[in-house]
């Protein structure tokens, strides 16, 4: 009888050890994914800033001149289509200006709601690295804590709630756990980590598939050929600007020749 119990235990223990190894591997992969995504995000952010400073401002300038040309054309010769054209060009110029310069505004002051504060405290007291039972858990808690801090600072209650739910689900079996309960706990932890990896993979795809992501990809491909894509775009735009400037002066000369 007792032999059977011992056999049962050791099978459970072996399964648990295997699952713990699997958990460590999955969590390792998750941490790598998080670092990758963080790097891509900051690369795209930096590239976005460069693009707006070197290219976006030229688009804004080009659209501004185009708007002025159409407005001068209304002065030159009144008609409904001239006025409509001028209005559309002006709206476009404003949009482009906003897109090119809008990012320089100061970020809004961080003012979390009381409920978000409470939620964050609930999460933090459960996953604080100081309360981890061993080194592996401490490492994982550090990662979760970083995620919770980021979610809190962008007011993301959904992520905070998920962190809390995950923790509650894992520990649902209570403090006094045998190997069976421990196994269940690890299985849940593996499932959470795999779910998070899938979510990060989705975000990765979304980031690289976005307009800025694809433009970044194009710029990287050009750089491998020794070309600077942003320089090329800026040079092309400067030519178009010179052309637009010439047309504006031409229309202005016509307006003053007509004495309007």
């Amino acid at each position: 009888m007792s032999a059977e119990i011992i056999l049962q235990r050791s099978a459970n223990a072996a399964g648990l050890a295997e699952k713990r190894e699997r958990l460590a591997a999955v969590r390792g992969a998750l941490a790598e994914r998080e670092a990758d995504i963080a790097q891509i995000r900051s690369q795209l952010k930096a590239f976005e800033g460069q693009y707006l400073r070197r290219v976006g401002v030229l688009y804004a300038e080009l659209d501004e001149i185009a708007a002025r040309i159409t407005e001068r054309e209304v002065d030159l010769y009144e008609s409904d289509s001239a006025r409509r054209r001028a209005q559309e060009a002006r709206e476009r110029a404003q949009e482009t200006h906003e897109a090119a310069f809008g990012g320089e505004q100061e970020p809004e002051e961080f003012d979390p709601s009381p409920s978000l504060k409470t939620l964050f405290r609930e999460v933090a007291k459960r996953i604080h690295p100081d309360f981890a039972s061993d080194e592996a858990e401490q490492k994982h808690f550090t990662l979760l804590m970083t995620r919770a801090n980021q979610a809190y600072s962008r007011g993301d209650a959904e992520t905070l709630q998920r962190l809390l739910d995950d923790h509650l689900e894992i520990n649902a079996s209570g403090a006094d756990e045998g190997d069976g309960a421990a196994l269940l706990r690890v299985v849940r932890q593996i499932a959470h980590a795999e779910r998070d990896i899938a979510a990060l993979d989705g975000e990765h795809e979304t980031l690289l598939g976005s307009e800025i992501g694809q433009l970044y990809g194009d710029a990287e491909a050009a750089a491998r050929e020794g070309r600077d894509l942003l320089d090329e775009l800026a040079a092309g735009l400067r030519e178009r600007l010179a052309d637009a400037q010439y047309r504006l002066e031409f229309v202005e000369r016509q307006v003053s020749a007509l004495g309007r």
Binding site: Y51, E95, T96, A99, L215, L233
Partner: protein, 245 residues
């Protein structure tokens, strides 16, 4: 967020312009092959660039299909690449597509594409948009709008538009009648060899409208128009009092 979508469109614009850069290797290869008269190879190179979204290559490829240069004549392919390039904002493709719609009897489509090409500063399209407004094709007839578009094309030196604008001034259609302005624009068109403008300018010299009467100028411009086969000018030249003042 609104800023997000505007941002996204300024990024998309950069991507489009980057894709259409003249540094596209297949495009450059195509241009070199085309200039060397190797049209089949050029068509293949332009085809590769066209697939990459290079609007100029798409446009050239469509004209090559139209003219069976290096490829078999293929209206469907020509129309397909023309539309892709037009949708990317290629003004010549827009103008050609407008003409293709017009030939197929789709006046609304012809007008819409012509308007986009005209917005892109293409004089030919501005002139044709003026014509469509004047005739009421694909749009409600409006001589005031016609005058606006003729003026834009005329300012770019498009002779037919200068002559049409002068006509509107001469008859006071869509704009206030002004013989002075009519004379100004007829002269610019006449100097570029527009026969109707030459005849009309001669007529204004003959009767002294908008310009000082000048018999020598009248004869000179009328003769130029007649030499080009302008019928009224020919009748005028054959009139007895013209030969023996």
């Amino acid at each position: 967020m609104a800023l997000h979508s505007v941002r996204s469109s300024i990024f998309a614009r950069g991507r489009r312009d980057a894709a259409n850069s003249s540094s596209n290797a297949d495009y450059q290869k195509g241009v070199a092959e085309y200039n060397a008269g190797r049209f089949a190879e050029a068509a293949a190179s332009f085809g590769r660039a066209a697939e990459q979204g290079h609007a100029e290559s798409q446009y050239i490829l469509s004209t090559m299909h139209d003219a069976c240069k290096g490829v078999a004549r293929d209206d469907a392919e020509a129309a397909r690449w023309e539309r892709v390039a037009a949708e990317q904002g290629h003004v010549y493709a827009q103008a050609n597509l407008s003409f293709r719609c017009y030939s197929a009897g789709d006046l609304a489509g012809a007008f819409a594409w012509c308007e986009r090409a005209a917005d892109g500063e293409l004089a030919w399209a501005q002139y044709n948009l003026g014509l469509m407004y004047q005739k009421g094709e694909g749009v409600a007839r409006s001589e005031a709008e016609a005058a606006h578009w003729y003026r834009l094309a005329a300012a770019q030196g498009f002779a037919d538009a200068q002559q049409r604008l002068a006509d509107l001034y001469y008859f006071g259609r869509g704009i206030a009648r002004s013989y002075t302005q009519a004379a100004v624009w007829y002269r610019r068109a006449a100097e570029q060899g527009n026969a109707r403008a030459q005849f009309q300018l001669g007529h204004l010299y003959d009767v002294g409208l908008g310009i000082e009467h000048d018999y020598a100028q009248y004869r000179s411009w009328t003769r130029k128009a007649a030499e080009q086969g302008h019928e009224e000018a020919l009748r005028e030249v054959n009139r007895r009092d013209y030969r023996d003042p």
